[in-house]
């Protein structure tokens, strides 16, 4: 209290301003900041995706075991990476929001989750499309597939929970607790499912046992991964701008 009084009475130049990056935690400031970043990331995503697809489909050689069908990894692997990474980032924002009470953090979690769920669906879908010609089955109860499916359920639970409350603050808090509980649970789920699948059947075809990739394949995959990053940034920032505006309108009403 006294601290505020003294700083309030000081002349303006003597007040120490908050560091610039910390001012970004304020929703109105971040709204403008995000608006400047969105076109850049959107353009970057387009360029990187075009380059990655060109490298992946035109330059990279045909795999001697799997033929042309392997090319689906240029979409599948980056999507699977992003699906897990976005969950971690959303949970990080949820933790920040719970600890520091920042108003922006829950909005970031909300903005990231739909994109994470989308990437999970893409990873599952492309995995099924790859599995049918290669393994001979659309779906195998393999550890990776099963844990990815449960990750999708965790995303859906989060999206369902935050949209269930009329009071958005309650939805923010409940969603944050759920995301953090999910982060504690994700490694346990992964290992339980892994041991479960090795218990029931011997090791089937494993992705990590595939022969080493050539440079062009790796380059295509990395380009696509970067494209997915840029796409996620663009979409999440655009979505968070909408959420900030929506929340401001709600607060103006009440």
């Amino acid at each position: 209290m006294t601290h505020e009084l003294t700083t309030g009475s000081l002349p303006a130049p003597l007040r120490r301003p908050a560091p610039r990056w910390r001012r970004l935690a304020s929703p109105p400031v971040f709204h403008g900041f995000a608006g400047r970043l969105v076109p850049g990331f959107a353009g970057l995503a387009t360029v990187l995706a075009l380059a990655g697809l060109w490298v992946g489909f035109a330059i990279a050689p045909t795999d001697h075991q799997q033929g042309e069908i392997y090319r689906i990894i240029f979409i599948h692997v980056p999507a699977a990476w992003m699906s897990m990474f976005i969950y971690l980032v959303a949970a990080l924002h949820a933790g920040l929001g719970l600890v520091f009470g920042t108003r922006l953090s829950p909005l970031m979690s909300r903005a990231l989750a739909p994109t994470g769920a989308l990437f999970t669906v893409i990873a599952l879908w492309t995995g099924a499309a790859w599995g049918k010609p290669t393994w001979g089955a659309w779906w195998v109860w393999d550890a990776r597939l099963t844990s990815e499916l449960i990750l999708l359920f965790l995303y859906l639970a989060y999206l369902g929970l935050v949209s269930a409350f009329e009071d958005p603050r309650r939805g923010d808090g409940a969603g944050a607790i759920l995301l953090l509980a999910g982060v504690v649970n994700v490694p346990i789920i992964y290992f339980s499912v892994r041991w479960w699948s090795t218990l029931h059947q011997g090791s089937t075809i494993r992705l990590d046992a595939a022969p080493a990739m050539t440079h062009t394949m790796l380059a295509g995959m990395l380009l696509m991964a970067l494209a997915c990053w840029a796409y996620t940034m663009a979409v999440a920032l655009a979505r968070v701008r909408c959420l900030i505006t929506e929340r401001a309108a709600l607060e103006a009403q009440s």
Binding site: G160, L161, L180, V184, S192, L199
Partner: protein
């Protein structure tokens, strides 16, 4: 106060035994439906028995938890919990412990009967009971977190959506313990992992549930 909360739950359950026994009846019913759907093939039933009993137990726990905190929210008891000198975490733990005694203990006691119906042998039945004794408290703790998070939401599908993905590890380890016993393999590792899940859940879930309840009462 903690003992009072615990005893009050037990007393309420004694006064209204149908509520408490609903989970048990649901468990027995679901277990009995599977042979009707699959057919009376003894070998097949023996193979799927542990999984059926575990999934039925999970669903019965889910059903029993749907109104865990709602009576307290309606009669203002939750506000008194917040005001009381006892920590909210401890009160939630007492409530969860009482709920386990009311809803899950009968279920664990009835499980050997169902296991015999599925043709499981004597030692396997013992393993099933041990696995259920270690696993159902974890399920109740996770479900209590789900119930606290979804408190006041209309419709109960959300609780299933929140609780079921998180219940995968106890389900996997519990079924693995029983299956290992059936195949004559040591089941100690799975039981230890179930115990580890329980320890972690008992440490974190009441705390997270208390945070969720505080949020619901804001």
């Amino acid at each position: 106060m903690l003992i009072a909360v615990f005893m009050r739950e037990l007393l309420l359950a004694l006064r209204r035994p149908t509520d408490a026994l609903a989970a048990l009846l649901f468990f027995v019913l679901v277990c009995s439906l599977f042979p009707l759907a699959i057919g009376p093939d003894a070998a097949l039933l023996r193979a799927i028995g542990p999984g059926v009993v575990w999934v039925s137990a999970l669903l019965a726990v889910l059903i029993s938890l749907q109104r865990l905190f709602e009576p307290e929210l309606a009669d203002g008891g939750l506000e008194q919990w917040l005001l009381s000198p006892q920590p909210l975490t401890a009160l939630v733990a007492a409530k969860v412990a009482a709920h386990w005694c009311i809803a899950c203990l009968p279920l664990v006691l009835a499980a050997p009967l169902l296991a015999l119906q599925y043709g499981l042998g004597g030692e396997t039945v013992g393993l099933l009971v041990a696995a259920l004794l270690l696993g159902t408290p974890t399920l109740v703790l996770l479900g209590a977190l789900g119930a606290a998070l979804t408190l006041g939401v209309r419709g109960h599908v959300l609780l299933a959506l929140v609780m079921l993905p998180m219940s995968v590890p106890p389900l996997v380890f519990g079924c693995a313990a029983v299956s290992a016993g059936q195949q004559g393999l040591p089941a100690g590792a799975s039981l230890s992992l179930l115990g580890a899940c329980l320890a972690l859940a008992a440490f974190l879930c009441p705390w997270a549930s208390a945070a969720a309840l505080r949020l619901a009462l804001e």
